[in-house]
Amino acid sequence: ELPKLAQKDTYKVGFAQTESNNPWRIAQTNSMKAEAEKLGFQLVYTDAAGSAAKQVADVNSMIAQGVDVIFLAPREEKPLIPAVMAAKKAGIPVILLDRSVDPSLAKAGEDYVTFIGSDFIEEGKRVAEWLIKNANGKSKIIELEGTTGSSPANDRKKGFDEAIKAAGGFEIVASQTGDFARDKGRQVAEALLQAHPDADVIYAHNDEMAMGAIAALEAAGKVPGKDVLVLSIDGGKEAVQAVVDGKIAAVVECNPRFGPKAFETMLRYAKGEAIDPWVINEDKFYDASNAAAELADAY
């Protein structure tokens, strides 16, 4: 019942990106584009500009154009279900990247081929676990959330908050959105540090906000890494460098280089191989112990 993918020399491949307003997305897009070029496939690229609804419309226009396969980086779990179903109905296999869709409404291996990516909840949890182990008495946390309502923000908060609560002894003194942006993250951190001068941990949902938080700390005359531990997710080069410099204590990687794995999975599917419902993208973890060594490999 899952649409089949014929074996051909070249394919017309759709890639429905959700947005391109941050370095992570841009890295992801570039990786997909580079891989398609390498393989000589024709890539139909759309950008939903942050709208789940537009992303569905984008997928529909790909279906109309008769693509062979669709890579979908769903903006949200539920609203993208119609896109997955429409593709299925049109006989086009779908591979989900970096975020999944609601498992109660669509299933891997049935409605779409597979989900390639990591687990946002897990990312938040890994940050929390590091902190629990390495807190050294630091316990008052400021959390800089991603864009309100977006699934990485919700999940990274959930994973972290639950693990931190379970551990006991920590207190999240403030949790506010910084919109995944450096400038906003900095402004929010500035205000929160004023209201909570006793905070000694800042957990940012992405690198950009973490960099903003570092600027805020420095402006307030505090030393990041010493007075306040900064924790982050994404693991871009600038953040890993900050780990090396001691400004960020630890960062969980969320690798945007999906291209190779995505196309490899697609070709395996075309050959008729069985694909796991969840192809896990291994994510690294950087802290003082490995950052210097891994710096060159960070994206």
Binding site: N22, P23, A181, A215
Partner: protein, 334 residues
């Protein structure tokens, strides 16, 4: 307050409240004081120099942009493109001193150019807005919507969407430096506001701006060069957006064409409106705009510092904006 900033005299069912009479002339100021009082009582560690510092540096860019916006709105126009122009200028500056256009031989010169060129370019885009409004008689909201959409795209194309990270003390002085102990961007804000205020109050062009917004036909018949006046205000708005763009990227030591100035147009317009300048034109209350921006900044700070969750904060912010404008209008009447 100059007399050209005359109050609106629409009457509503709420008029005549004695309470509001006390608010005196500057309604926005009252709202501002009320917010401060609230914070002193409720917000932890509010009364400190660092709090002042944080708020002043954060509000600087809004004030700078809103000053230009006030002039545009005074002519009966509006400028939606300011955020995108900030992105363009913010993208250009690092490209210049990081040698993306031509190799940097003399850093001092490169930094000087990094200040001048982006602002001039933003000013030229502002002129483009003005030309659409005057030469083609396109409605301002749509004329500037063109660059609102395309401007950020231009900045992204220039940088290929990539983040530019840099460290350059000379350039970053505009945001990180201090002049006589006061943050440079705050000084910059004060100077721009003072100039604009003096312009509206004392100069011929200031009166012409207001006349054009008040009655364009009549203004033309008194010999006012209506088109030139409009070109001028859009250019000024562009220039100031350019300056604000520089401040933002300098402060963050990074330029992200995707995000610099995002949503700035609404903040700036809200500041102008809360400050008591009618969006229909014919008035320019620069001091009001500054107060309006302060009110908006303080609302934001208050909600953040007191841990109001984002969703609820939106609702509260909405109510406070309405309340501030309402108080301002009532007070203005008496």
């Amino acid at each position: 307050m100059t007399t050209i900033e005359t109050p609106a005299s629409r009457s509503g069912p709420f008029s005549g409240g004695r309470l509001f009479t006390l608010a005196g002339r500057y309604g926005t100021f009252v709202a501002f004081l009320a917010l401060i009082l609230f914070n002193v009582i409720v917000t932890p560690n509010f009364l400190s120099l660092q709090t002042l510092n944080v708020n002043l540096t954060q509000v600087a860019t809004i004030v700078i942009v809103a000053t230009g916006m006030t002039l545009v709105i005074a002519t009966g126009g509006i400028d939606l493109s300011v955020g995108s122009l900030m992105a363009i200028s913010g993208a250009l500056a690092p490209m210049i001193f990081m040698g993306r256009f031509w190799p940097v031989e003399n850093m001092a010169l490169a930094v000087a150019l990094a200040f001048v060129i982006p602002v001039v370019v933003a000013g030229l885009f502002g002129l483009f807005n003005g030309a659409l409004v005057t030469r083609f008689s396109i409605q301002p909201i749509i004329a500037t919507l063109v660059l609102f959409i395309a401007g950020r795209g231009i900045a992204q194309v220039m940088t290929n969407g990539n983040l530019q990270v840099f460290k350059n003390e000379g350039f970053q002085f505009i945001a990180m430096g201090r002049i006589a102990g006061i943050p440079a961007q705050v000084v910059l804000m004060a100077v721009i506001v003072a100039l604009a205020w003096a312009m509206v109050r004392y100069t011929v062009i200031g009166r012409q701006i207001i006349a054009v917004g008040g009655n364009e036909k009549a203004a033309r018949l008194t010999g006012i060069p209506v088109k030139r006046v409009k070109l001028f205000v859009y250019m000024v708005s562009g220039l100031l957006a350019g300056v604000a763009g520089l401040v933002v990227v300098a402060r963050n030591a990074a330029s992200d064409a995707n995000l610099v100035g995002l949503g700035m147009e609404l903040d700036a317009i809200a500041a102008v409106a809360v400050g008591g300048t009618l969006l229909t034109g014919g008035r320019a209350n620069i001091i009001g705009t500054v107060l309006g921006a302060f009110v908006i900044q303080l609302v934001r700070y208050t909600l953040l510092a007191n841990g109001v969750p984002d969703a609820a904060a939106l609702v509260v912010k909405a109510a406070l904006i309405v309340l501030a404008v309402f108080i301002q209008q009532r007070a203005d009447k008496h």
